[in-house]
């Protein structure tokens, strides 16, 4: 028997485990993946770029490692990207670390769309602060696009040639830009974590521990605080007692044996996709449609950040293969609603550096370099000469975008896989069109020789949100403001499933701040907590 069992050792699981153990809870965390050895990163090998196409591909369907579960994405316009290991998807992430803006929590009040969160930016601000300290953030105070806040732990990452060029273009256009807040050390920070040496492929792992992931930030401290972390543990059911309280979880170990962990509180931190899957798998007499799913909201309101992409090719070299690939500068000029536009809410533009030789040839930011005559001429034209702006939009929640259980796909233990059903609405499409026009304008001002656009990047399902949303009304939400499910009071949802709306910003600092806040609320209410009998 443990006080709290957490399912998933990723961004949110690591943060909550540390906080709860420090508050005196006996915490067990079950993680289906294992530890990643930083010294085994492919970026130390000459074939590093092959790993990106295979073993380290962010799509679990392509990677197909034993610890992965497949995802049925046949009806999804955006493909799932995630990772299963201690550290979760932060093992592969780009480490953009923005905070949501105050208006992101009030879309209904301000714009009449989506729903208001039951908490505000101000409620979350101290947890953002604490999380920044634990993860380590490089960036700069003074951004007029966001509320004033404390100095970051470290100075910003280098802008690179493309960053300098695009910053000049934004200035000429009179648009906002600012160095990105990133969870990457520009100086040594944290226990045994060195500084970034601008190698480029953060997604392959960082042998210096400079790119923060929870396996190097939270987990060493969580384990020191007493958390028991069990790897190779794949949970397939949350059990409830006769009163409908969560009593523990059932899981397969690496040998395929069924194990059971009893707990006073069950906390799901399995990613917006994995948590919805687990809740839908956990059926009972009390919850025939899935755990805490009286309202049929579990799995619904799936949100991504639908992304358009504009890539400029410059005649001079940009050396975009140097520097952390995903982070440099960003513009939030078109972030807030403007009634003169034909859409509500908005988007941000992030400047991406470019790829190595394989990534350039295979394509991603730009279409694939064509095979056949002229292949090398095109390769020479583009390699090291490009930069890209994402158009990262806010996705408003819709009931028809959802996660259900696949009827035919299973993981290695025979557990039904999740299926994503997802399409874009007109508002988002208009936003992307607007963003592509603006990004094209910026590249023109910056002097790009030619410009290519992608109206929707299908391979961009990094942010899986909203599938067990937070709210104050039990009829229209799954959890309360403290991330506890309305119908099972000792069941916590710690990951991005609880997002009421998605904002247009990378979600992980918000996911982790919410997890820390949920942990503190549990600590505060510990003596009154209703647990299984």
């Amino acid at each position: 028997m443990t006080d709290v069992v957490i399912v998933g050792a990723g961004a949110s699981g690591g943060a909550a485990a540390w906080r709860l153990a420090r508050a005196g809870f006996k915490v067990t965390c079950l993680e289906q993946g294992g530890w990643i050895d930083p010294d085994a990163t492919p970026s130390l090998r000459p074939d590093w770029e092959i790993a990106r196409q295979t073993t380290h591909h962010p799509n679990p369907n392509v990677r197909a490692a034993p610890q992965d579960y497949p995802v049925d994405d046949t009806e999804a316009a955006i493909k799932p990207f995630l990772y299963n290991a201690v550290g979760g998807s932060t093992i592969l992430w780009g480490a953009h670390f923005p905070r949501f803006r105050p208006s992101d929590f009030r879309t209904k009040t301000l714009d009449g769309v989506g729903d208001d969160w039951p908490i505000s930016y101000e409620d979350l601000a101290p947890y953002y602060e604490e999380n920044d300290r634990m993860m380590g953030v490089s960036g700069l105070a003074g951004d007029p696009g966001n509320p004033p806040r404390d100095k970051r732990q470290m100075p910003p990452v280098p802008m690179g040639r493309a960053g300098e060029r695009m910053a000049g273009a934004f200035d000429q256009l009179g648009w906002h830009w600012w160095p990105a807040d990133v969870a990457i050390n520009t100086e040594p920070y944290g226990e045994g974590r060195g500084a970034c040496n601008n190698c480029g492929p953060c997604d392959l792992g960082c042998p210096h521990g400079a790119r923060s992931a929870t396996d190097v930030s939270y987990w060493p401290q969580a384990i020191a605080a007493g958390v028991q972390l069990i790897t190779g543990a794949r949970v397939f059911e949350v059990e409830i007692d006769a009163q409908g309280k969560a009593s523990g979880v059932v899981w397969y170990d690496r040998q395929g044996q069924v194990q059971r962990t009893r707990a006073g509180v069950v906390a799901l931190a399995s990613n917006g996709l994995g948590t919805a899957r687990l809740m839908l798998l956990s059926t009972s007499k009390r919850f025939p449609n899935g755990l805490a799913n009286d309202t049929d909201l579990v799995g619904r309101r799936l949100m991504h950040h639908p992304t358009g992409m504009v890539t400029g090719r410059f005649l001079d070299e940009m050396d975009g293969w140097a520097g952390p690939f995903a982070v440099s500068i960003l513009s939030q000029q078109f972030y807030e609603t403007d009634i003169t536009r034909d859409f509500v809410r908005g988007y941000q533009m992030q400047l991406l550096r470019s790829d190595g030789p394989v990534g350039t040839a295979v394509g991603g930011y730009l279409p694939r370099v064509p095979w056949g005559q002229g292949h090398h001429a095109r390769f020479r034209d583009v390699f090291g000469h490009t930069a890209s702006l994402t158009v990262t939009t806010e996705d408003l929640p819709r009931m028809e975008n959802r996660v259900i259980l696949s009827t035919h796909l299973t993981d290695g233990d025979g557990i039904p896989a999740p299926k994503m059903i997802y399409s874009l609405d007109d508002n988002t499409k208009k936003m992307i069109t607007h963003g592509i026009d603006r990004a094209t304008e910026a590249f023109n001002v910056a002097g790009a020789a030619d410009i290519a656009t992608q109206s929707l990047v299908a391979d961009a399902g990094f942010h899986l949100l909203g599938t067990a949303c937070m709210g104050s009304d039990q009829a229209t939400s799954v959890t309360d403001l403290n991330s506890r499910t309305h119908s099972v009071p000792n069941l916590l949802i710690l990951d991005g499933s609880v997002f009421t709306t998605a904002a247009a910003l990378n979600p992980t600092s918000t996911i982790q701040a919410l997890a820390l806040r949920a942990a503190d609320a549990l600590t505060r209410d510990r003596s009154n907590m209703q647990v299984a009998s």
Partner: protein
């Protein structure tokens, strides 16, 4: 056997053909790429190697159109193994300065962030919207 590969990447004054850097064997031995390689090879018309470059391209376009998924997997395999081949990496280093070594442990030199760039953006007025809570804060 290299007719297929050399049609995909013909080589030029700087770059060798895939056949010249042993890509045929590398593909056959690769745990993921051997399958699309064999499949596409089995779809080639008889006498493919004897066709002109133009005719070979036409035949491959047809295969690509009929079997896009498997063809795409082969392209990923060919480009991946070609551009990570040490002989090709050295040429890229000579032409572009991109190191032929893996990115770690040495990393790359990039000028650190220079705050001088911020004089214009830092002078802008507040860009985020207030909410009832920010107004009260």
């Amino acid at each position: 056997m290299s007719a297929l590969l050399n049609t995909l990447i013909p080589g030029d004054a700087d770059f060798p053909t895939p056949g010249a850097v042993g890509l045929h064997d590398a593909l056959l031995m690769h745990v993921r790429f051997a399958e699309p390689y064999s499949k596409v090879t089995s779809l080639l018309p008889k006498g493919f190697a004897l066709l002109s470059q133009e005719e070979r391209s036409k035949a491959l376009i047809q295969i690509e159109q009929k079997h896009p998924s498997i063809f795409n997997r082969l392209i990923v395999g060919v480009y991946s193994l070609y551009y990570t081949n040490p002989k090709v990496a050295i040429i890229i280093q000579r032409l572009t300065g991109h190191t032929a070594h893996p990115p770690q442990p040495a990393g790359h030199q990039v000028a650190p962030f220079d705050p001088k760039f911020l004089s214009i953006p830092a002078a802008r007025s507040q860009l985020y919207r207030s909410t009832p809570e920010t107004d009260n804060a």
